[in-house]
């Protein structure tokens, strides 16, 4: 069973912008696209840990601000010639609220 946690309103994030949620395991970047789709990824580029939340978003990808790696927001995978992936989280939008899957948040602890 999925248990979703309300983390804020869709309009709290500007279109093509991103904001962070702080967790015990580090920051998660929550992205809102031009078309109001929401994605959540670890805020660390697989390359050198750059804060993806600070990058420029285009389509459903974000360009890392440190070295221009392009990360697919849906899969978390680096695009083009670069290889690597960042952890993604299940999120959804209901009635203008952004909800994140609590199970996904707990997973890193369970893995220990």
């Amino acid at each position: 069973m999925s248990d979703f946690l309300d983390i804020g309103a869709l309009t709290d994030i500007p279109q093509r912008g991103a904001r962070l949620i702080k967790t015990h395991h580090g920051c998660i970047a929550v992205f809102r696209t031009a078309e109001d789709t929401v994605f959540a990824l670890d805020d660390a580029c697989p390359h050198k840990g750059g804060p993806l939340s600070q990058g420029i978003q285009h389509g459903s990808a974000v360009t890392c601000p440190l070295h221009n790696w392009v990360i697919d927001l849906n899969s978390g995978e680096a695009q083009g010639a670069d290889e690597g992936a960042v952890r993604t989280y299940a999120v959804k939008v209901e009635d203008g609220r952004i909800l994140i899957d609590r199970a996904g948040l707990a997973a890193p602890m369970a893995a220990e």
């Binding site: 946690l5 709290d12 912008g17 696209t33 840990g49 600070q54 990058g55 420029i56 952004i98």
Partner: protein, 813 residues
């Protein structure tokens, strides 16, 4: 034995269900139809043409008195049902009770009224039925009457267009970033907004209504940002909610709507429901196609044969005469999804197909929708389109043929459009030269002088020549800005001015961008070009800026930031130094360093501390040093005549004046200056973008120096005698650079392209032109010369600096 069927609600869904029922089982039921409106069923979708005056009410009636009579339907219109007693199987109205064997609830939906002060004032109108429509028509009868439509969705825009046709002054207030965001992507939304604006409808997107004001009736709408729009009526068209009416009290299972199963039965097997009032598998419906499907299913089950409702894809069209728009399926981007985008700027056409696994899953079309149903058919059929893919976007009539003309944007320019700004050459003059016998690009250039000065219009000139000569011309390969466009930076800059493009969606549409919202290469460039070309008019797009310019600090490898306060001309004071030291202590800033530009750099600042750091620095009188900007960075100075025994002029004072002139300006790349007080050049002015070296008789100005990846000495621009002239020449030079250079080209690269000769002619020798450029720079500065730190220290852009949520508190459970 004939059973009694009672139908509550005489709208389109129940109307269609009754049609099916009397057709398949004419004698099964004795039917009584209640309707809250004092009239029978009419085509509610066609209210918009009634509003605009293109149709009359009589033309949209679907079931008249004759129909009800000949099919034996007892009509009780204008009689609202107030309750049901399921135990005794009766419905209650003012007139009494009516018994049923089977009940069909089709109460439709209620308009959603946003809960703002003034929502109940006379003059606030919803848009659901004929009475609403008539109220709007009445309001429009007063000459000069004004209307505000809240909601830029399907219904709101139809209302706006209708009211405009009736002569009203109409403003649409829409909460989201673009119109019809549920059906359209931003590109199509832009085209729609442009079309509505050309019809004289004002459109405010991203506008949140705070209050409806008025004394006894509507007088104005107040927006969250403080804007006030005076108006006579307010049309509330923000959405609908299922009208579950008495169902919850009657104990019928209700969620957002009345819950039904696939047979359209509620949890009471004798009670059916359909239309906008129901919730089926968690979904509520508002478009007519699924409602008609429900009607068929409900009628079949009422007639005794089994049928099940299965929702299908629906498409949307906007019913505004002259607006062609089509939307279907899911057009969000996502993993494994691809898109095919077609744009024809001249005709205002935009088509986008979203594909997944070689199947169409979404269609957005604007301007030319004739192929909409063809695409929609393939979408519904989940047809594999891999064989058609190359030409799919061109629709069913296309097979093979020539690829799209990449020069469409150029071909569409009017004859008077200026191609070469330096020499004032229009497209018409180039065509005239060609019809006059010039058959090569060089001949055209020689005759017209087009692209022979600064050269930035070379590509454009070539395209005009190519378009005019046709097959006789071979277009040389020009590098596009990025993968999103074939246009070069220079062409884009020229076309932004020639076509007066004033937003990023406008540029992308008119210049046939190949992606829907660009990429990290073109978006910052376009944002700069628009900032530079349309000061005061263009709305800066923060999301198109690199993070450093968005948060006004430099990102470091560990995600922290560095902060550099401005020190005019490199001069500081003990108080400023104390304030910097205090800030470094207070926020535990690990590193404090002196930069090469005579500034102090605070390194390792946490992002959420930035506004507080700035607030403290502001309080000590310091502003942003723009050490992060593609803009004016620093003016480095030596101490000049104040202290130096060799100084010839007040180099420090002049440096401060230059910095005060230039700070806050956005440029294609960073700009660094220096002023040295004598030719010993202690400020290293000869390797700067602009360097001033003072001599006894005046000031030597050099430009195009570099000391980065390339090392270059400045080239001499001119020598002037007064500080005023220095300031004017520098302002003119910077403005020329802003207007012409390619994004991310430092001045030396730009100069190499356009030639020092032309720059000297323009900035030094042509005095009127120099003054014009300096004035243009001054105008631009009135908009951009503000301290970005102050705004953010006071709480502006807070979303950039605070987390959305802190789960370290809750996730611990």
């Amino acid at each position: 034995m004939t059973q009694k069927l009672v139908v509550i609600g005489a709208g389109m869904a129940s109307g269609r269900a009754l049609e099916h029922l009397v057709e398949t089982a004419p004698d099964a039921y004795d039917i009584t139809l209640f309707g809250a409106e004092p009239r029978g069923n009419y085509n509610r979708i066609m209210l918009s043409p009634v509003l605009s005056g293109e149709k009359t009410y009589e033309e949209i009636v679907t079931h008249d008195a004759d129909w009800y009579a000949s099919n034996g339907v007892t009509c009780r219109f204008g009689e609202a049902v107030t309750g049901i007693d399921r135990g005794r199987k009766v419905v209650t109205t003012e007139a009494g009770e009516t018994a049923y064997d089977k009940l069909l609830i089709a109460t439709g939906s209620n308009p959603f009224i946003i809960p703002v002060p003034g929502k109940d004032l006379p003059g606030v109108i919803t848009y659901r039925d004929l009475d609403d429509t008539n109220a709007m028509i009445d309001a429009a009868a007063t000459p000069g009457a004004r209307a505000v439509v809240i909601g830029g969705g399907l219904l709101g825009l139809e209302a706006a267009a209708g009211l405009k046709l009736r002569g009203m002054d109409v403003t649409v207030v829409h909460l989201m970033g673009h119109l019809m965001e549920r059906q359209l992507d931003p590109a199509a939304g832009y085209l729609l907004q442009r079309e509505l604006e050309t019809r004289g409808i004002k459109v405010l997107c991203g506008a949140n209504t705070k209050e409806i004001r008025g004394d006894g009736k509507v007088e104005a709408v107040l927006l969250e940002d403080g804007r006030i729009i005076e108006t006579d009526i307010v049309v509330m068209a923000v959405g609908i909610r299922p009208n579950t009416a008495f169902a919850p009290e009657a104990g019928i299972a209700t969620g957002r709507g009345i819950q039904v199963d696939d047979t359209m039965r509620t949890d009471d097997p004798d009670i059916f429901a359909l239309g906008e009032c129901v919730e089926h598998r968690g979904m509520c419906y508002g478009l007519v196609a699924p409602l008609y499907d429900m009607a068929k299913v409900a009628a079949s089950n009422l007639a005794g044969s089994e049928a099940a409702f299965a929702p299908v894809e629906t498409s949307t069209k906007l019913k505004v005469t002259g607006v062609d728009l089509f939307s279907a399926g899911d057009f969000q981007e996502g993993e494994g999804r691809e898109e095919i985008v077609f744009r024809d700027a001249t005709r205002g056409v935009y088509k986008r197909l979203v594909l997944e696994d070689d199947r169409i899953i979404g269609v957005v079309m604007y301007g030319d929708t004739v192929d909409g149903s063809w695409f929609f058919g393939k979408l519904k059929a989940k047809e594999d389109i891999s064989d058609l893919r190359d030409t799919l976007i061109f629709g069913p009539n296309f097979a093979g043929g020539a690829p799209l003309d990449p020069m469409a944007a150029v071909a569409a320019l009017p004859d008077e459009a200026e191609i070469c700004g330096c020499n004032g050459v229009s497209k018409g003059q180039i065509i005239a030269a060609i019809t006059g016998g010039a058959t090569t690009l060089d001949a055209v250039k020689a005759l017209t002088k087009a692209s022979t000065s600064c050269g930035t219009c070379a590509g454009l000139t070539e395209q005009v020549v190519a378009a005019t000569l046709g097959d006789d011309f071979v277009l040389p390969e020009a590098a596009g800005m990025c993968k999103c466009t074939d246009h070069s930076h220079d062409d884009v800059r020229r076309l932004i001015k020639a076509k007066e493009l004033k937003s990023i969606p406008a540029v992308m549409q008119e210049l046939n961008w190949k992606t829907s919202c660009g990429c990290h290469v073109c978006r910052p460039a376009l944002n700069f070009y628009l900032v530079a070309d349309w000061p005061g008019e263009y709305q800066d797009d923060a999301q198109s800026r690199f993070i450093n310019e968005r948060v006004h600090a430099n990102i470091q490898k560990d995600g922290t930031y560095s902060v550099v306060p401005r020190m005019w001309g490199g001069i500081t004071t003990p108080d400023e130094l104390r304030a910097i030291a205090d800030v470094a202590d207070k926020y535990e800033i690990p590193t404090v360093k002196v930069t090469g530009g005579q500034r102090i750099d605070l390194l390792g600042v946490k992002k959420e501390d930035l506004p507080h750091v700035w607030g403290d620095l502001n309080a000590a009188g310091m502003v942003s040093g723009h050490a992060y900007a593609k803009g004016l960075r620093t003016v480095k100075t030596c101490v000049g005549t104040d202290f130096c025994r060799f100084g010839t002029q007040d180099s420090t004072g002049l440096g401060i004046k230059i910095e005060r002139l230039l700070w806050g300006s956005w440029t294609p790349h960073k700009v660094k200056l220096a002023v040295s007080g004598c030719p010993r050049n202690c400020a290293e002015a000869t390797c700067k973008d602009i360097g001033v070296v003072c001599v006894d008789s005046g000031y030597e100005i050099g430009v195009g120096g570099a000391a980065g990846m390339d090392v270059k000495e400045v080239e001499r621009l001119c020598k002037v005698e007064t500080e005023e002239e220095v300031l004017e020449v520098i302002a003119a030079f910077v403005q020329l650079y802003r207007e012409n250079a390619q994004y991310l080209h430092r001045p030396y690269k730009w100069i190499a392209k356009v030639g020092m000769e032309w720059i000297i002619e323009t900035v030094v020798e042509d005095l009127p032109r120099r003054k014009e450029l300096a004035a243009a720079f001054a105008l631009s500065q009135t908009f951009y010369q503000t301290d970005p730190w102050a705004e953010r220290a006071q709480g502006g852009q807070a979303h950039e600096f605070t987390p959305l949520a802190d789960l370290t508190q809750v996730a611990a459970e």
